[in-house]
Each structure stands twice: as structure tokens, then as C-alpha cells.
């Protein structure tokens, strides 16, 4: 085997390798921000994070702007503290609100950021003030049931009152 042919093939081989990695990085992984210098973090505290997991996307108006990089329990106040790692090119005002949403009825949960109106932006490491917790299906159903039962009780009471006053 001629040396130049071997060189050529090895060159092609390495080029294939580089192309594969580039393909994986760009087309498959979409190069999301990771804790390096072109990203910053925000803190958001929730009473209940439901099924939110580390690495869940952070979206604003449906566009992925970062990822949840850490979730821990604040043992003093017993709230969940989520660390959001956001791409440096997206900045949010100080009255931005964060909520935990679900993609579809049974899909994965993500953090949605809604931009506020204030001039000043959140700085790296700041806490998002306005948060709303995840919708937990059981609680939702529970609430619905109690309100439904209460409604029934009220109706029954009204009926009873009406019956009393009627004669």
C-alpha cells in the first residue's frame, strides 16, 4: 500500500470523524448553553415544582432560552430552589415571572419565563420574584372535587332554606 494512499484515506477518515461530531453537535444537540462563559444563572423559588427535572428547558414565549441546571430544597423555608442557566443573549426584566408549565397534557414540564415591564434587567445570580408553582394534577382534581361538593352543599342549603321559607 502506497504511503500517499494511506495518508489520503486517513485524512478522509479523520474528516468523517470531524464531520460526524459537527453533525451531532449542530443538528442533533442544537448547541444549547452550558455553564460556560456565554451563559448566566438565575434563581427561581417554587412552592412545588411538580415533575420538573434538571435539564428541563427554560422557555420564553415557547423559545428555548436555557435549561434548569440545578434543583434543591431550601431547608429553612421548605421551598424548592431551581437554578436556571440562561443563554447570555437573552435578558429579562426584574419583574419577570417564572411558572412551571407542561408541554401538552402529559408531556414534560418546563419553566416558562414571562417578560415584565421594568426597565432594569435581572443580573446574574438574581432571584426571580414572581413565581407560580407547577399544576399538580391530583391537587387540581382535589380542588375541583371540593369546590364541586361545596357548590352542591350550597345548592342543597339554598334548597332547604327555600323549602323552609316556602310554606
Amino acid at each position: 500500500m502506497k504511503r500517499s494512499i494511506i495518508d489520503l484515506w486517513v485524512g478522509i477518515f479523520v474528516a468523517i470523524g470531524l464531520a460526524s461530531v459537527t453533525f451531532l453537535a449542530l443538528k442533533v444537540a442544537n448547541l444549547t448553553p452550558q455553564g460556560d462563559n456565554n451563559s448566566y444563572t438565575l434563581i427561581a423559588e417554587f412552592d412545588n415544582i411538580g415533575g420538573l427535572k434538571v435539564k428541563a428547558p427554560v422557555k420564553s414565549s415557547g423559545v428555548v432560552v436555557g435549561r434548569v441546571s440545578n434543583i434543591e430544597l431550601d431547608t429553612q423555608r421548605y421551598v424548592a430552589r431551581a437554578t436556571l442557566t440562561l443563554n447570555d443573549q437573552f435578558h429579562f426584566s426584574r419583574d419577570t415571572s417564572a411558572e412551571i408549565l407542561t408541554a401538552g397534557l402529559l408531556g414534560e414540564q418546563y419553566v416558562g419565563l414571562v417578560q415584565g415591564g421594568e426597565e432594569e434587567n435581572l443580573k446574574p445570580g438574581d432571584r426571580v420574584q414572581l413565581t407560580s408553582s407547577a399544576l399538580v394534577l391530583e391537587q387540581l382534581i382535589g380542588k375541583f372535587m371540593t369546590s364541586f361538593a361545596e357548590g352542591n352543599n350550597k345548592a342543597a342549603a339554598a334548597d332547604a332554606a327555600a323549602a323552609e321559607t316556602a310554606p
Partner: protein
Amino acid sequence: MMLDNLLAPLRHLGHSTINAIWKLGMMSRFLLAILAHSGQSLLRFQLTIREVYFAGVLSLIIIVVSGLFVGMVLGLQGYNTLSRFGSADALGALVALSLLRELGPVLAALLFASRSGSAMTAEIGLMKATEQLEAMSVMAVDPVARVVAPRFWAGVISMPILAALFNVMGIFGGYLVGVVMIGLDEGTFWSQMQNNVDLHFDVINGLIKSLFFGIAVTLIAVFEGFDATPTAAGVSSATTRTVVTSALVILALDFVLTAFMF
């Protein structure tokens, strides 16, 4: 006599344990020797390039074909299962994640061990059997530096490239089945993948895995070749040992690495 029969399995166990530990120690020493004698294979890079050709380039076809088929099977099976739960849209993510994290590095390494690892063992073993290694050493050329180290580095370089290619081909196979054959929406396929695959967490970790596999497989291959009994039977059993040991080490190492990474 009775006691002897009872103790035989224990003695056998002890013997194989001691052998395994001894081998592990020899292999570590061999790795150190390779690293210490790597200067030449890196300075005279032509030596290593030649071996990349034999270890890597010649493995291209088997990697491409296997990757494609594994991806296609993943696409079919994944679709069957996911569609039962009404989430066939997640097929792209399923295919990409299974390949990037596990199947790509592991299967590429298994193929590499049986295609290139066994060839390396046979080649070095045969060189030993025909006194070529000894001749080299008598010519004041260190066989570890001249024969073993270039092959080792070639394996370490080739493995991640092959694994990355395997991943790409697998994803392409999944795409063929999911989008072209079954008719899922192309945009959903890719966007589901992109939303769920992370460059560092999935892609890079998978490649790091394959780098470890490359080191392990190539080390086993060159060690078995160098350590082979210099006869026809010795070389053939060394070749078998390379494939078997590599497979076991790849799977065990995969478990350990997965536990650390994910």
C-alpha cells in the same frame, strides 16, 4: 482424597483470581511502558497514521452498515412502542439518546474489538511467533516503541471517530424509518431530538465513553498479542481472548462510566 475433591473448585477459583490480578498488574505495567515509549510514535507520526489506516479506515464499512441497521431497528421498535402511548413524536429523541449515550459507543467498541482488536493481536502475536519482535529488539529497536505504541495510539484515535460515525449513521437510520418510511413529520423528528439532546451531557459524554473503550480495547489487543504464546495455537487463543475480554471489559466499563456520568 474426598477433601481434595471438595477443595478443587476453591483452588480453581483461587488460581483464576490470582491469574486475573496478575494479568491486570501486567497490563497496567504494559500501559505505562507504552506511554513511556510513545515519543517515537508521536514524533514519527507516519507510523501511527499507517496503523490508523488499518485500525480505523478498514473498519469504516462495518461501522457504517451496522450503525445504519441499528438505527433502523431502533426506529421501528421505538415507533411501535411509542405509538402505543401516543408519543410517536418523541421517536427522534429516543433514537438519538439511545445511540449517543449507550448503543453508539458500546456497539462501535464491540465491533472495533472484533474487527481491529483481533487483527492487532493476531498481527503482533504472529510477529512474535516468527521472531520479528526479537529481531527488532536485537537491532536495538524497541518493539514496544516501534510496533505496540503506534497501534495503541491508532486505536485510541480511531475509536471516538468510529463511534461518532456510528451515531450519525444510526440517527440517519432512525430518520429513514421514522420519517421516510413511516411518515412522521420531519420537523418534529429533528426538533424533538434537539430539545432533548444536550451537547455536553449526551454527545460529549458518549464520545468520552468511546475514548475509554478505545484505550481499553486497544490495550487488551496489543497486550494479548505481545503476551501470546509464540505458536499457531497460542496466537489463535490470544485472538479469541482479545475479543472475549474486550467485550466483557467494554460492558463492565460502560456500567461504571454510566454510573459516573448520567
